[in-house]
Amino acid sequence: LPVAGRELLGPLAFLRRPFSLAGRRDLDGGGVELDLIHRRVGTGTDWMGQLAPGTTVSILGPLGNRFSLPENNGVAILVGGGVGIPPMIYLASTLVGRKAVAFSGALTQDLLPMGVTANAPRPGADAIDPLYNIDEFARFGVPAVISTDDGSYGFRGFITQALERYLDAYFTDNADRNRAVIYTCGPEAMMKRVAEIAIRRRIACQVAVERSMACGMGTCQSCVIRLKRDPARDGKAFEGKDWIYKLACTDGPVFDAEDLLW
């Protein structure tokens, strides 16, 4: 009597995983349709990647705060990188009819995290004029500036350099600057640079940070990020610190660039 055994692979994930919404639509029947866009980097996202359409999954959310839109018809400037792009798409969907521009970059054209719209006009290697060349944004009337490090498509250089050139060209006017808001989400190094650029130019900047999270609801204290202490908001100082930890999951994930000490 032969006995055979099987391997049960991959039971390696235990906690939930945080994701940004890339879109949200109310359905006729009363339900809601949510878009998630994700990379595959490990157990959880691999599992998600192989889910058959129609599979029921459990989600908790939405959790945390959200971007607030520019006041006084100011321009919304969206700078997303990598897994920071999905929330920018959601943001774009709320910007229909407003002034907005999106920035998107990659090492080289093939690695652009989003497809370039077929037969969109091709920008030059130092072009910083927004074009309707990324579908996900163009759909909501938001033009985009694309950069590649090697210049294989659009602006040659980092996305943050494209942003600076764009601001140099179009945000010379104080009134414009005062009303504009830069939104950023993506790799921490990119967000830090974007925040610096915004602060130096006195443009408001909202940063959506990423932290390891367990509960997502402000109970476990795992997702802290360092902010400047504001006595009015944060109460009396303790432990002699001029900074304070805030929770990325509930106080954030969106913070004011001015406040962030990272």
Binding site: L12, A13, F14, L15, R16, S58, L60, R211, S212, M213, A214, C215, G216, M217, G218, T219, C220, Q221, S222, C223, V224, I225, G235, F238, E239, K241, I244, Y245, T250
Partner: protein
């Protein structure tokens, strides 16, 4: 109808489910996702005399069937607790137990004294897994020191039940259990997390900024269950001191295991992060289990485990 109620050293709980300290904040956070009225009792995050920022991030890391945490007792401190959290706790539809931590006997005594007068607080749970500032030794791993701490705290807490939460990082947990009881503990919670570690092999650094952290979740359940059974049979049963069992409880079957091993109540921590409704689901599962087994009172199941070598019992749940 089955009777899930628990008499925890005189404190009445409608059912045996509780929250684990530090995994459920101060109750308001989970309100949308958990039926608080369905809890036997709510246990707060550890409170210290002074407000604490806690450790630098990363504070948590997921591991197989669990997680490590090194939060560092980040909490609002006694003053803000009284000002901001107590008003919320007054509205809780279940008994509230405040978990207190400290780094000196004075710390503990002062914080506990403030609890004695709070009508919305039913009991205090002492987190004794903290190092003493004076000599760096952990309160909870030295029986003598634990007995003294417990006695000092009980002195200022005449109006509240005192629960001592034992650390599993000891050789003989019955010794610390006995010390806590001798010092005046009216119930025991076990267990706290196990000291553990995870390493980022590319950075060659611990994945927690603190270096080490506490392991919790289903991974520790078999060890926690053994420790509950050991304390129950070695000390608590004869002393008539109830045990609150915790460590990796995720499903109702886990809760039954802890009850059979000797826990009068069970607390759920890490599993809340996976599903905040876990306690409610455990109550439902327990109820069905008891109905099917024809057990009317949960208390009949407490410690009903038959170990090898035990005298056969007269009744199935005696």
């Amino acid at each position: 109808m089955v009777d899930l109620s628990v008499n925890l050293a005189g404190l009445k709980l409608s059912n045996p489910t509780m929250t684990c300290s530090g995994t459920c904040g101060y109750a308001n956070e989970y309100a949308d996702f958990m039926e608080m009225g369905g809890l036997g009792a709510f246990v707060t995050k550890s409170i210290t005399r002074e407000e604490r920022a806690g450790n630098a991030p990363g504070r948590i890391v997921e591991v197989r069937a669990g997680m490590l945490n090194a939060i560092g007792l980040a909490n609002v401190g006694l003053d803000r607790f009284l000002a901001e959290k107590v008003p919320l706790l007054r509205r809780m539809p279940c008994p509230v137990i405040v978990n207190v931590a400290g780094h000196s006997t004075d710390d503990y005594v002062e914080t506990c004294a403030a609890m004695n007068g709070l009508d919305c607080v039913s009991a205090v749970e002492l987190n004794v897994s903290c190092p003493n500032v004076r000599d760096g030794l952990t309160f909870g791993t030295h029986p003598g020191r634990l007995r003294e701490l417990t006695a000092a705290v009980k002195g200022v807490l005449p109006a509240k039940k005192l629960i001592v939460k034992l650390s599993p990082n000891v050789e003989d947990i019955t010794a610390t259990a006995k010390a806590a009881i001798d010092g005046g503990a009216e119930a025991l919670s076990l267990v706290n997390t196990f000291t553990a570690m995870a390493i980022d092999i590319h950075k060659r650094r611990p994945r927690l900024a603190n270096g080490t952290g506490g392991l919790s979740g289903p991974a520790i359940k078999p060890i926690a269950l053994h420790l509950v059974s050991r304390v129950y049979r070695g000390v608590a049963r004869d002393a008539g001191v109830p045990i609150i069992g915790m460590g990796g409880i995720q499903y109702w079957t886990d809760a039954v295991e802890f009850v059979l091993a000797g826990a009068s109540a069970v607390a759920i921590g890490t599993a809340l992060f996976v599903d905040p409704a876990t306690p409610n689901k455990i109550v439902a599962g327990l109820t069905e289990y008891m109905e099917k087994a024809g057990v009317h009172r949960l208390s009949d199941l407490v410690g009903a485990l038959e170990m090898p070598g035990d005298q056969p019992r007269a009744t199935p749940y005696g």
